[in-house]
Symmetry: D2
């Protein structure tokens, strides 16, 4: 699948009637497994990049280059339509332009630019902080102008629900939607009423971050077409690794893990061994 085809599929989901979810992916292996589980879309967020690449909390310590390289590994290895949470665009509006350029080049299907101050300003004691609306609009317009392939999805992500009263959130989202972004990405949703208020103000598709306790049917009915389910897969892998390492530490062998392992056949399928054998036969013999 070409990057444009991957982007068109994501667009079709956003314009459709159903709320879909992406798989959290971070390398070639996870991308292939997600595809084999039937996912059409993947997501890479800054926090997942920090966990797997840096071993650090979500503090905007990764660089745009590292983030783009990780995305490229995923898009290269799979046909997933990959959506990325591109944090604040890795700097100001001009950096956001470069962010769009690099991530589009990495084969991304869609990305979101958020209105949160990142990395944190001095003296905030961990309190999250929003950039002003005019600054956010500048960034979104910059991001839109930097897109080369018109099919690339660009979303405005807002963290405002965690910080501002709903009336101001609604104002923000209305202004964001007016820039021509393809979707509004809302995080920190706690009650369906807030989604109603936002939905009443904007008519572009909504992407929703983790919102435990709010049902898919409820959000689907309110314009949400893409819903994140959180990155629990990392904690699952961490535990699975830990138990495997302890098994080997106690001098166990692979045989003793068989029931927990993907089979050799499955691994070969994930690695596209048959394709490589065909190429071997056709071109190297």
């Amino acid at each position: 699948m070409t990057p444009t085809e991957k982007r068109s599929r994501l667009r079709a989901i956003l314009k459709g009637d159903v709320c879909k979810s992406p798989a959290t992916v971070w390398d070639a292996l996870s991308a292939r497994v997600a595809e084999s589980a039937g996912f059409e879309c993947g997501i890479l967020s800054g926090s997942v990049c920090a966990t797997t690449l840096l071993g650090a909390p979500d503090l905007a310590l990764q660089t745009l280059t590292e983030f783009a390289d990780q995305i490229r590994r995923i898009t290269r290895a799979s046909d997933l339509s990959v959506f990325a949470d591109a944090d604040q665009g890795y700097g100001n509006a001009l950096n956001a332009m470069r962010t769009v350029e690099e991530l589009e080049h990495a084969g991304l299907a869609g990305l979101a630019i958020e209105d949160l101050v990142m990395p944190a300003h001095f003296g905030r004691r961990g309190e999250p902080e929003l950039i002003g609306v005019p600054e956010a609009l500048g960034k979104l317009r910059a991001a839109l102008s930097a897109r080369r392939d018109a099919s690339l999805v660009i979303a405005a992500r807002t963290a405002a629900l965690r910080i501002e009263p709903i009336a101001r959130v609604v104002e923000r989202t209305r202004a964001y939607a007016a820039t021509g972004v393809d979707a509004l990405f809302v995080t920190g949703l706690k009650k369906v009423e807030d989604l109603d208020a936002i939905r009443a103000a904007v008519d572009i598709p909504i992407i929703l971050g983790s919102a435990p306790g709010i049902s898919r049917a409820d959000v689907e009915a309110r314009g949400v077409r893409f819903r994140l389910q959180g990155h629990a897969v990392l904690a699952v892998c961490a535990k699975a690794m830990y138990e495997t390492y302890m098994h080997f530490k106690a001098d166990g062998d692979a045989e003793g893990l068989r029931s927990r392992m993907a089979t050799a056949e499955e691994m070969a399928r994930l690695m596209r061994s048959a394709d490589h054998e065909n190429w071997n036969d056709a071109y190297l013999n």
Copy 2:
């Protein structure tokens, strides 16, 4: 721990009386989990790099740059003494020099250069092939000469047991040991007698690849100080990912996975959140 300290620890293991094993690691998260499970050493092989970074079989498709970058992520995130299977040295003897330079710079504790033709020559139909002894000696001497930090472990890895009669294998390993390499890395061992023959010929420490069915006590008694246990952890992760993705695909939530997940506290510990909070307090407020 400095790179030199990590290297000295690996050297001490090789010179010690006990046979230890490294954990298979491939990114910051796996390195941190391996450390938390009590491992002192990690290993990254070309095949694991191919699986996680490229989604490809072990056909020497990754580049030295990709391999070095992956190693750097592991050494940066952890105090593990990382040993790498550096395949054939990514080319001829001069490339092997660059391999040593780049991997030493990436913080590696030790590496092995193998005597296998890689990537495969034309027309071999998948049959493995050894380079000649003089060529192998040239590569090993080149690798040794490229080392800047004398504490970096350089091992000669041989795949000869799978290809040549034991008498010739013994000859090879004797010649390899004479170059001054720090260890001999033997793969494809099927019977302890072969190890006896090799042990009789060389008196440097032995590193042993996967050898199912041969006990740790048996190999320890024959000079093996570092023994690989295989990369089953990848297949365990692949299965854990698959089940997690299927859970989410069925609209399950993270709550339903709780028993399979590392706890939030454990994840925070793995990400060194407390350190980051201290830095936040000390330098950003």
Copy 3:
């Protein structure tokens, strides 16, 4: 200009009536200067990569990743149609597939895979060596099969003129052309008669390496549509740098170099300062 447009321009040159030449470029600055001098095409060879990135002779020490990164910097910064001498395809036929994939992704307009053994085999004492014809054909077919954008130019490069009698060279080139490659790249040409012999055997466009003493008119009349002029610009820059450094070493100031410097206005134009100011005005204020 999109990558496809850059590729189509190179194709048009190859299919045209005129013999054009690319500028040797290696970073964003040289690419911009070449464009400002009116060049439509640029070239990056392995040797230029070795000079500027590694400070090493042309011994195949750079990695595919390094080469692709350098190409991406050029294609990102300019509208040049960039052609790359991709050496032997960075390994065997499967590596050549990856080479095409990575270089196409880097935005290349065209590339050549050469029939020279690279890096050098053991024991050759510097003597160049060709791979066999069947192996070369496998690589070319592999390269062609790896192309995603059909407009990407793939050429077969042969060093045979330096090594084999002309009759066998002709045989080689005929076989190469039959794979469906877009052009034949001939290096080491010493006499026009050899070009006649090759031209009589193949009817695809010819790309010609440095051939001092043979005129453009002569090669144009024999089907050469793209002719390299050598990488002298590097030695010119080396001398200009040296003199500048000596000037500063003697405590000279920039004023004393004014006549040798591009003007501030020209540098601003090369850096697209006006565009950046417009973006500043539009999105950051």
Copy 4:
């Protein structure tokens, strides 16, 4: 030379009696030429990185990864003690820690963290802006704490002379010096009196940015031990490239450029061809 030796040489210069200057370098070739011209130190600034890698003005568009990679190419290829202007530390105090870590790993001898807001804040219309003193102190302390090799030079760079009255500049520099940084880096100096005022307040070595019209003797007498001479070499190269490209465009050949080119022998020396030939003889034959 090891990184620590390179750092110690820079320290010795800062603690000595003489004011030295670094050569502006940006890749392996420029580093080698600078060394051959007798320079002991090199400098890479954000603006030079932007020019050569991105083809962009100095707007903080390059990433830390790109900057570190470029430094690594220079330190790998030469024995220059490389000093880098690390801009604002690529983010807040925690990003500054990562900046020190990555640049130290890249083999840098010294770096400066500046007190300028970078990238520009929204709505400033190009007006430069300083961060507050407490924030700057936090960054400097963070940078110092992130250093692994105590010989790495860390300097506080201030742009305050361009923005604040001298009394406040003096206050700033006194506070910066009190953090324990190894040097104070002053830019935008217009009159020697300002240097007197700063010198009276701090007793650490001073590094001076471009200060046309102020003599080396004058600044040396006031504690300046390292003085930048500007990056004119880039404009010299741009002009030399342009003229070379125009020569080839007019179908000139390398012969016609001979007087402007470094000789083949000089290029071979710069590329360390003799070393490579020795390695070839010793290890590949």
